[in-house]
Amino acid sequence: MTPAAFLENRKPIWDRVEHLLDCAGKSGCRKLTHQQLHELTRLYPTIAVDVSKVRMYKLDNITLSRVNDLAIRAHGLLYQRKKEKSDTGVIKFILKDYPAIFRKNISYLLFAILLFCIPMVSTYSIVRLNPDTAYTFMPYGLDIENSDTVTAEDVSERYRQMSGTVMSASITTNNIQVALIAFSLGIVFALGTCYILLSNSIMLGCFIGHFTNHGLSTELWYFLAPHGLLEIFAIIVAGAAGLKLGLSILIPKNLTRVDSLKKGASESVVYVLGTIPMFIVAGFIESYITPAYFDGRLKVLIGFAALGISLAYLLLVGRNKPQMEN
């Protein structure tokens, strides 16, 4: 075919495809009729081939960019993800995919738990052995309240002065932010995540040790356990996601480092987003149940129940049932 014949033949088809793409607009192929869509899928491969042909005939740049643009637009339109599927997939995601991803990456979680618990226990022991070191670990948090006069009632009272609504909003968003930052900093070869895990665990260990030194351990548990168990667990899960992200660069296995990063990121981001509901529940407990006037033992029970339900969901839901084979 001569270039002239090629242009003459194909021009009407390019115009037609352009018309179809304009009909579709920017909102995907939903605006096209069934017939139009069918026509477009039929014409698109020929347009893609035309890009090569225009290059082969060494035609001008305007023609090339026009056909190339048409092909890109059609390509973007036709090779689209199924939006509807991902919408109905939410339930499947909650009931199956998320717990499965959680269990698949449980080794990172164990790693994060170790990273959290070892510094916490060691800080606790140090503070128990040398009470004064508490002020070294937490120079700001403890200075404000003169520790000799503080009682459990004071702590609770400070909580009760604030409005539950405001508190749950600010605490929840702050916690989610810490989790997202812990994940995001994981990209610095997991170092940032380690820093967040360490600083939180040292703070907690020092806190527990300091209160125990002053004989307030029971009150502390009444105050900490209802929301703290779930909250700390969620922070550790977010840390595990950050560790996975960082380690995917450090240990790429048989992929290139960038490819390994992409793979790690797309899995671990789901991992960290799953902590958001946990933080919302924890924030709710922290602002409405922790400061409430009822038996501390019941509050602790609620805390353990919240953590237990979360764990049961993550570990048990969506497990493949043993397959029935006949």
């Binding site: 003459e8 081939v49 060494k58 890109i72 973007g76 609504t165 989610i176 990209i187 960038v258």
Partner: protein, 254 residues
């Protein structure tokens, strides 16, 4: 020739290479500035409304101001982490700022972005912003081959320019006379009997002629036309420049 634009190649399932222009640092910064300007504006409006409504509600003695304060915390959080993600999600990769300079976030393979891509690139935005003013992002966009910030690398996304391709010199001519398109039509091809390559050379010369001095035209033009015209048997050594220009205009049917 210096390539100013970085092009990215997409291989389609039909084994054809499509090219798209990757957005440069400048357009991405201007998109970002636009977005942040919008954020500040929206925020001022929301702040104003909240402040006003909290006054109204506390005047009536209700505890509504608590809700307003709570809404403020949640709003701050959603804006900080969700503005870019939200717009990229509903528009398939275009925040208002990106739209204003015709940019779009797409996957490296050219397909539209999914929720996971959006989540990754916008959570890691936090690292890109370190230590302030998107310093790391700028360094990475400047240095990386496909102009990706850290979040883009982790998500496997690129930011492409959707502006129509324009060619420096032809652009000027296009503006002068609207009907003049540097496009080889079937008609021209047939009547001139030249190959597309030859027509391209002639066209490129014709478009740039106004930028060339007369001396330069005298020097270049015979060199361009001699091989083409002698093949057709119309070349004479004593042709004047205006005759050659006539030939070109006749060939291109102007």
């Amino acid at each position: 020739m210096i390539e100013y634009d970085v092009h990215d190649k997409i291989e389609t399932p039909e084994n054809v290479e499509l090219t798209r222009t990757i957005a440069g640092l400048g357009s991405r910064i201007s998109a970002g500035l636009f977005d942040y300007l919008l954020i500040v504006l929206i925020f001022l409006v929301i702040f104003f409304i909240l402040a006003l409504s909290s006054n109204v509600f506390s005047y009536r003695g209700g505890s509504m101001s608590d809700f307003v304060l709570a809404a403020f915390f949640i709003g701050m959080f959603l804006f900080y982490w969700g503005y870019f993600a939200f717009f990229e999600w509903i528009t398939n990769g275009q925040t208002p700022g990106k739209k204003s300079v015709h940019l779009r976030v797409v996957c490296e393979n050219g397909s539209p972005i999914t929720f996971k891509h959006i989540a990754v690139r916008n959570i890691i935005r936090f690292v890109d912003m370190l230590p302030g003013m998107y310093f790391l992002a700028i360094v990475f966009i400047f240095c990386s081959k496909r102009k990706q910030r850290i979040g883009d690398m982790a998500a496997g996304t690129i930011v492409v320019s959707e502006e129509k391709l324009q060619y420096g010199a032809t652009d000027k001519v296009n503006k002068k006379n609207d009907n003049w398109q540097m496009e080889i039509t079937a008609e021209v091809l047939e009547k001139s009997g030249l190959s597309p390559e030859e027509l391209n050379i002639i066209q490129n010369f014709y478009v740039r002629r106004s930028e060339l001095s007369h001396d330069a035209i005298v020097k270049i033009l015979p060199g361009i036309l001699k091989p083409i015209m002698s093949r057709q048997g119309t070349w004479r050594d004593d042709m004047s420049i205006s005759e050659m220009l006539d030939y070109i205009e006749c060939t291109l049917q102007i």
